[in-house]
């Protein structure tokens, strides 16, 4: 219902950016995700909702193989990005993560200057040829993350000296600067005030022109505002997945209905 006309045109080709089939995740002996199958579409915002501890972050971290860095985590099932198995032994997780960017639940700016935080990705991937080009990317990314006006005079100050909400927007700018095809955002607005939240939502809507965005959120309103697709997780299961409008107005599963009306979670 929020679809822009440009988006509608591109729907005709194969529109699946990421396809996940029967994904299981174990932390040691404990199973955190059961049989999750989802198709994430290109140029679409997909929202993951569900009560705390249901496995939203876990699933998000499967999509760019961040779970590889957790020693006890084990992922089973099949996840494909543009038709290629991302857990195939030949796939380099480092390159995958350059394509599938991530904003974490807790802001984690590097203890470097604001500028260097944003320039980090472009530098390691050699995305720019000159200093002025890099300056341009930094400015552009900070603007898209709605942080530029607050930091344009202090780009050389440490990123850790910013407020929590500013840090989170810095992390968003950092992820955007790398130019990912898919952006995974784990509760990006949980530390933000309503104004910054609105700006980030605008950014997400803007990113949808070119990328696919997956956002985890605890705010039903936010999911309804920014996403076209919504997935509802509960206790490690994917309960329901579909058009955001349908999920919120006409949920098929009683658990979904109880959650969105505030009875569980």
């Amino acid at each position: 219902m929020y679809d822009a006309p440009a988006n509608k045109q591109s729907v005709d080709q194969s529109n699946q950016k990421i396809t996940a089939r029967n994904v299981q995740v174990f932390y040691g002996d404990k199973q955190a995700l059961r049989d999750v199958s989802v198709d994430i579409e290109d140029r679409t915002v997909t929202a993951f909702i569900g009560p705390s501890g249901c496995g939203k972050s876990t699933f998000l971290r499967c999509l760019n193989r961040m779970n590889d860095t957790v020693a006890i985590a084990r992922v089973e099932g099949d996840i494909r990005l543009d038709g290629e198995d991302i857990y195939h032994p030949m796939v380099d997780p480092v390159q995958l993560r350059a394509k599938v960017g991530m904003v974490f639940q807790k802001p984690n700016p590097f203890p470097k200057s604001i500028y260097d935080n944003v320039a980090y990705g472009p530098k390691i991937h050699g995305l720019t040829r000159s200093k002025s080009e890099l300056d341009g990317i930094v400015e552009e990314s900070l603007k898209r993350a709605a942080l530029w006006n607050e930091v344009k005079d202090r780009l050389q100050e440490s990123g850790t000296g910013l407020s929590g909400g500013q840090q989170q927007r810095l992390c968003i700018a950092r992820a955007v600067a790398t130019g990912p095809e898919v952006l995974l955002m784990d509760e990006p607005c949980s530390a933000l005030d309503p104004i910054a939240t609105a700006q980030v939502e605008e950014l997400i809507d803007d990113l949808r022109q070119n990328y696919s965005v997956v956002i985890v959120t605890h705010s039903m309103q936010q999911a309804a505002r920014v996403s076209q697709k919504t997935a509802f997780f509960h206790l490690g299961n994917l309960v329901e997945y579909g058009e955001t409008g349908t999920i919120f107005t006409n949920p098929q599963d009683p658990r979904t209905e109880s959650y969105i009306t505030g009875r569980i979670g």
């Binding site: 760019n64 961040m66 860095t69 020693a71 480092v94 390159q95 995958l96 993560r97 350059a98 394509k99 960017g101 991530m102 974490f104 807790k106 802001p107 984690n108 700016p109 590097f110 203890p111 470097k112 980090y120 990705g121 390691i124 991937h125 440490s158 850790t160 992390c171 950092r174 992820a175 790398t178």
Partner: protein, 486 residues
């Protein structure tokens, strides 16, 4: 009564105070502990503190002050001529206390009464012979005035001890009574205990600081004595180190400083990279299983005594370097060399650097690694660009700490680099360091106030200033690059 028994009595009183105080606190509210401001235990504790703290403080002060007061009095009695000359009064005082100790031993061995000892006279009874029997050898015949001094010293010591016992016991009993009388339901015993523990901690910190100040002061005062008998410019700028037994020595610090810095430099060239790389491996790359084996294995090095390292330098590294490098390349024929000592000190310091660095790297939050990996950085990029910069202040601190240790190392240098003070660039030459020379100057047979001995203190002060400078520098770096996480 001796100090041990006195302490036991005070402790026993404190224990009584604890039990009585606790019970009385309970009684004062008719057994209902909820009505007390503080738990009964705190009341007991407070009474015990009232008993011990003043008594123990008094005992400590008395034990320190008594010998000083007595000495001042005795020296006063020796006459103005002796009192004015510090050396003479010190010697006289030593005689007096030796004889007094001898009399104590005699009394213990033969069971003479105090009166009989008081009646002894140095010109009549054979004091020297009798003291020799109980194992106290005196150099010369005992002079009568010294002997009577010794007797009065014993007298003063005895009165002093009696007075101290009486005072301490009075304080303990008084504290007990006061503590018990103060107990009532509203008494804030918990706060008293709280502030007591604060002062205890303050005192502990104070002891540490005061000892440091004391050490520095004594070091510097001896150094000043050295500079009063030897020109400071010769010491600081002299290019030769050549102490003579008959005076007229060249005591220039430069060759020693050069040796110290050269050896330390070689040691850190070995220890810093290997230690840091080993730490990066154990902290970032090693699986938990490998890590649990490798880390302790590296740290075993730290448990080897430095003398053993010295042997290693002497019999293995030294000859190896000489036979395979120095001699074939015509760089020297000495088994002891800067390179030998530097290498071995470097090896000694590897676990130091690596285990500190490992801890520091582990303290970098996982979220920073996630952030970097999430942007598509590789492991080594993450380490180079995020982890090491974040850990840098700590790593610099670790390296400088290891440097201080290398500078202060003595045993390995003695055995590995020799004792020849030389200014030379060739790392295959024998050289020596400040610490080695401090030891050799102090263990010589020279008079204690000759410049050749006193120079040890000047060397010590210089070493202290260098290490202090190093630490200040480390702090400065840490401040400059401090970047807090989150």
């Amino acid at each position: 009564m001796n100090v041990g028994i006195l302490s036991i009595i005070v402790l026993a009183l404190a224990l009584c105070g604890f039990v009585v105080g606790r019970n009385r606190a309970l009684q004062s509210v008719k057994g209902d502990a909820r009505k007390l401001h503080s738990l009964p235990v705190y009341h007991g504790q407070t009474v015990a503190l009232f008993v011990t703290v003043p008594a123990v403080l008094m005992m400590a002060v008395w034990l320190v002050a008594q010998p000083m007061v007595i000495e001042a009095r005795i020296v006063g009695q020796l006459g103005d001529a002796v009192a004015a000359d510090p050396v003479a009064s010190k010697l006289a005082m030593e005689d007096v206390s030796r004889i007094a100790d001898g009399l104590d031993a005699l009394q213990a061995a033969t069971g003479l009464s105090d009166d009989e000892i008081g009646d002894m006279r140095s010109d009549l009874s054979d004091i020297r012979g009798r003291l020799a029997e109980v194992g106290v050898a005196l150099g010369s015949e005992v002079r009568p005035e010294i002997f009577s001094m010794a007797k009065s010293l014993r007298g003063m010591q005895q009165t002093g001890a009696t007075m101290m016992t009486a005072l301490v016991l009075m304080l303990a009993v008084g504290g007990l009574a006061l503590g018990i009388l103060r107990i009532e339901g509203d008494f804030r015993a918990r706060n008293v205990a709280e502030s007591f523990f604060m002062w205890l901690l303050v005192a502990a910190a104070g002891v540490a600081i005061l000892t440091t100040i004391g050490i520095v002061l004594s070091l510097f005062s001896e150094t000043m004595r050295f500079f009063s008998v030897h020109p400071a410019s010769d010491f600081f700028f002299g290019l030769t180190w050549n102490p003579q037994f008959r005076g007229g020595s060249d005591l220039g610090i430069i060759p020693l400083l050069w040796g110290t810095l050269y050896i330390t430099f070689v040691a850190m060239i070995v220890a810093a990279p290997i230690g840091i790389f080993a730490a990066i491996y154990t902290a970032e790359y090693a699986s938990p299983r490998v890590r649990s084996v490798v880390k302790p294995l590296i740290e075993v090095i730290a448990g080897i005594p430095t003398v053993v390292f010295g042997l290693f330098a002497l019999v293995t590294v030294g000859p190896f370097l000489r036979d395979y490098f120095a001699v074939p390349f015509g760089l020297g024929t000495s088994g002891s060399s800067v390179l030998t000592a530097g290498l071995v000190i470097g090896i000694l310091n590897i676990p130091f650097v690596s285990s500190l660095t490992d801890d520091i790297i582990n303290a970098v939050p996982q979220s920073l690694r996630d952030g970097s990996y999430g942007l598509g950085a590789t492991k080594s990029e993450t380490i180079k660009k995020v982890i090491l910069p974040a850990a840098l202040p700590g790593i610099v601190g670790a390296v400088l700490l290891a440097t201080s240790r290398a500078i202060g190392e003595t045993m390995i240098v003695t055995m590995g680099a020799g004792a020849a003070a030389k200014l030379d660039l060739n790392p295959f030459e024998a050289m020596t360091t400040i610490t080695v020379k401090i030891v050799s100057q102090l263990t010589g047979d020279l008079a204690f106030d000759s410049p050749e001995t006193l120079v040890a203190f000047a060397l010590g002060s210089s070493l202290f200033v260098i290490t202090l400078g190093l630490n200040v520098f480390a702090l400065w770096i840490v401040r400059k690059y401090r970047e807090q996480y989150e």
